[in-house]
Amino acid sequence: MDFFLSLLVKGLTLGCIYALVALGFVLIYKATSVINFAVGEMMMLAGFLITAFVGLYGLPLAAAIGLSLLLMVLFGFVLERGVLRPMIGRPVIGMIMATLGLGIFLRGFAPVMWGVDKKNLDLMLPAQPLRLESIVVPPVDLAGVGITLFLLACFAYFFQRTRSGIAVRAVADDQQAAMAMGIRVSTVFALSWALAGITAVAGGVVWGNKIGVDQYLSLLGLRVFPVVILGGLDSIAGTIIGGLVVGASENIFGGYFDKYVGGGLKDFVPYVLMLLVLMVRPYGLFGREVIERV
């Protein structure tokens, strides 16, 4: 039982910080219907920026993170204006390919710029893990959970309660009708990419601290893809639920059965789960249903 509980808790915390990455997909998909395949790479870029500011330029950590936030927001704006806006009105697949291309570019660019060696992103958290009986939670995971929940709450507030957030959802529903209300679609898109930039920094901080910063950080994008599909591509609540389900199940399955199959269940279970859910709910657990009135 203790073993199970510790696997569960570890899985849930992991799931939470999966959700942090998954947000990068959802923010973009919600407004633009584009699957942003550069999520992992944007996170990697943020991680590189932070470590570079600290390591190469000797900035204090907080300043490095602040500066990276600014740069990633800017990156989101520039990307939208320079690369994606010219594609508005064309088939969405073009933009999706563009994000793929961007990802490949960043994966090549970052190591050339800052080196291939793994860099530490030290958050200077206490080394002492949080213990509760047999359950051990490292501080970094705890910080990750905190940051995730905080961001989720911020975005939930933004989309539900602010006029800009409502405008983003309006664009997601019906672009032309939104234009008819005076909403500038391109501004909404740019805003979404800027928000994705912010989550990339948060993800870069947490995951960079957990596994170090190098080009492999970008692989997390693919890794959390089942989370996004499971939760629903356009649901913020879905990312956290999807994250928790995936994190807990891969950890539990891995913990019990990896020894029989020689490992690797962690990578396999999420995709099986994803397929199972898709069979029952094609829009994911919390994806936007297609409303059909009778």
Partner: protein, 271 residues
């Protein structure tokens, strides 16, 4: 009595509209909407009514349509080159055909989205104003708009447009698919908004009878042109109108219309 020559609120001068760079849909449309009036734009399905409204509101662009000739002036300012977002800010709002509410937003969120351009602090008050005209919407304020009835959605579409505090509202077939009693209710409110809120209306309808009852002036379109215009009395007494628009049920209108149309009659309209 000689009326002072007053500039109309909206003036459409001989515009042509092309879709996809090749399909010529409007072939020289001119019309005027006086300040404070209700003007009806009538015509069969496919005549180019919606295209005319979208040309005015700037909504052609996302459909790859373009005004290639002529000009559109609103309060003396040319707007045919402007973005939809800027045109809304000048005071023109379009209620699109088919209602087009934001289905996954609640009724109230739809109204808030309608107030997107507003920078004054009066949005709360105007929500109440909309609920005053459409009490049903207040009862349904927290329901997702996709689950509203057709009539409620049409009310929401009009209420949402009202939230931008427009000077001119372009209404595209508000009666489409609604029961007669609801249509009467909606037309009633259109008149009240015109009188009480001073919103000028350009009303597109296939339901010519209803539209001409509330309009001060009417235009009839066919194949991308205005073929007839005048006071409601004149239009109501016009033989072709009587035959083609008023005597027929909404269903099958176009078919019957085509059947009886012949060259001579066209000529009479054009003369």
């Amino acid at each position: 009595m000689v009326a002072a020559p007053e500039r109309p609120l909206l003036q459409v001068n001989n515009i042509e509209v092309v879709y996809n760079g090749v399909v010529l849909v409007l072939r020289g449309v001119s019309l005027q909407v006086p300040q404070g009036g209700i003007v009806a734009l009538l015509g069969a399905n496919g005549a180019g009514k919606s295209t005319t409204l979208k040309a005015i509101s700037g909504l052609l662009r996302p459909e790859r349509g373009e005004v290639t000739k002529g000009s559109i002036e609103f309060m003396g300012e040319r707007i045919d080159e402007k973005d939809a977002a800027d045109i809304v800010r000048l005071g023109i709002v379009q209620v699109m055909e088919g209602r087009r509410v934001f289905e996954h937003l609640t009724t109230e969120e739809n109204l808030i989205a309608g107030a997107h351009i507003r920078r004054d602090g009066q949005i709360r008050r105007d929500l109440e104003m909309v609920y005053h005209y459409f009490p049903q919407l207040k009862a349904r304020r927290n329901v997702k708009a996709g689950y509203l009835s057709g009539g409620e959605q049409q009310m929401l579409a009009i209420g949402r447009a009202l939230m931008s505090r427009p000077k001119l509202m372009l209404l595209d077939e508000p009666s489409l698919g609604l029961a007669p009693q609801l249509v009467a209710e909606i037309f009633d409110i259109v008149v009240r908004l015109n009188q009480e809120e001073k919103v000028t209306m350009l009303l597109v309808e296939q339901n010519a009878m209803m539209a001409l009852q509330i309009a001060g002036y009417g235009y009839v379109m066919e194949d991308g042109r205005i073929v007839l215009d005048g006071d409601p009395e004149k239009l109501l007494n016009n033989e072709d109108i009587k035959e083609f628009y008023l005597g027929l049920s909404a269903v099958g209108q176009r078919k019957s219309y085509r059947e009886v149309k012949h060259y001579k009659r066209r000529k009479r309209w054009l003369s």
